[in-house]
Amino acid sequence: MSGFSFLEFLQQIINGLTLGSIYALIAIGYTMVYGIIGMINFAHGEIYMIGAYVGLMVITGLSLLGVDSIAAILLVTLAISILVTGSYGWTVERLAYRPLRGSPRLVPLISAIGVSIFLQNYVQIGQGARDVSMQPVLTGGWRFGPADGFQVYLSYMQVLIAVITVAFMTGLTLFISRSRLGRACRACSEDRTMANLLGIDTDRVIALTFILGAALAAVAGVLVGMYYGLVNPFIGFIAGLKAFTAAVLGGIGSIPGAMLGGVVLGLAESFASAYLQTEYKDVVAFALLILVLLVRPTGLLGRPDVEKV
């Protein structure tokens, strides 16, 4: 390989940050649920997949109706996808997890795996097992660098992904730290029994957690649909695995940790692909996870007292 190029390095950072933003959005759902009820919601990847499908359908529908303003398409799609996917999140919690509250830890975990398989097959039957593809809605971008050499390319879509991710993360952080419901969330996360005794409706808080997680997964789904343009009923599995890794890497239960974990994972994959072989990107990503866990068993930003319930 030829030598190091700063412009290529910059491009790889852009690639990694885009990928990492998406991982982070999905990772939030894992981390919030874990932080509050100490359960890994394995169906979360499928919730994201549903978000992507709804996004694709709405975008296709809008373009049939002749809507061509990017802002309008984006707002309507995000709103509908969040609404639909959020209600899936709520329903899953209500039907598959709430009845099992108070049972041993493994029971809801198995229920989650069941929901994951159910949703995958449900979408497969309803939408077909084929890939659904869509042409890009937002194309173009900026190019920097010498006209005859390597040019860094930053697409509008990548900027949009970064902006939307930061906006939703900031919104979530403010919601958790400032609002009444957010305070209730934090209380439940610290001690659910005590919160209950103090008059917080913990069931409601848990339902809210699932809706919020699903809403962010819907955002990720819509962005992925617009960016890559390819959706099938199986995308939730790999995305879920990566996002779960990001959540653990950052410290499961910690919201800033999930964001950091996502970005670190995205960058690690990008750099491994760039400076080693593409084959090794997952090896590097997971080796990094093991290393971090060896040094900091609670993840990058995890709290040491995470073991509870």
Binding site: R130, S133, P136, Q151, V224, L230, F271, T278
Partner: protein, 372 residues
Amino acid sequence: MNTFNRHALSIAAGMTLLGLSGLASADTIKIALAGPTTGPVAQYGDMQMMGAKMAVEQINAKGGVNGKKLEAVIMDDACEPKQAVAVANQIVNQKINFVIGHLCSGSTQPASKLYEDEGIFMITPAATNPAITQQGYKMVFRTIGTDDQQGPTAGRYIATKIKPKKLAVIHDKQQYGEGIAKEVDKTVKAAGITPVLFEGVNKGQTDFSALITKMKKDGVDFVYYGGYHPELGLLLRQSREQGFDAKYMGPEGVGNKDISAIAGPASEGLLVTLPADFSADPANADLVKAFKAKNEDPTGPFVMPAYAGVQIVADAIKGAKTEDAVKVADYVRKNSFQTPIGKVAFKDNGDLKEFEFVVFTWHADATKTPAK
């Protein structure tokens, strides 16, 4: 007492059903069509099923085989090696003697062992990995060429027509994709071109931006991709986005309409090695008309090979005057057959004696023309 009655009833019902299905199958010859009808490469399964079903219909319309009708039984392996073994077991259990399939090399290989062990006749219209017929099996055949024919065809085309300054070879780490990529690699190296990059991506991967950036920086001007269309489609689309304008080439696994649905304008000019377009052969005009009458597209690369597979099975059962799969396999090995893919004869290992791959240029509207 009550429970006993219920059980007795269901047992009786079950026995009746079993009896009925036994009766129904007595006067047909079952042929399993094993391939993906779901999953990311189900499009190819459609081609296979379409061709095979047409053959079954036409043979039945002419009175069937030895006075019996053929019956197609579709089995979905989703191109998953594990599911393929489960499907093969089902075929064994249902005592079906003939299999048209499987489609993906990765699922054909593990399934073929069961067929060999159980004495079931298997003919794949699509799996091109050479290893499948190198196992010393007696029951395994194919009506398509192999990657050690297809890879060199692509490699020679690259070396003589394209003469790239910097060639990259990418594959999906699957038996089919990596196998063919290695053949291309070998052929171009023999012609004096050393790829600057030989790397694998993940099946199901959606983000190729890091790899594209690397190829762009290294000044790659031609990329060979060994694998299937979902990954290549995204690779093409993201390459165009990033302003990486190298030309791409792929094997028959990327040559279907979905590559254009995914990559859009970026699929224009893609080079694909495919079996010759049998539907353009004047000898097949009537057959093409029959497909068109059913609103089906006979131009897919596996349609005619699948048709040929069924026809060979039928002709061999007729010729050998038995439904014994082992004897049918013997007959197939010793004789030649007139099929829509031409007059075919088999080598001892089950490969076709002759099969030709042709380089096509793919267009954004999902059509193809022979490459110059």
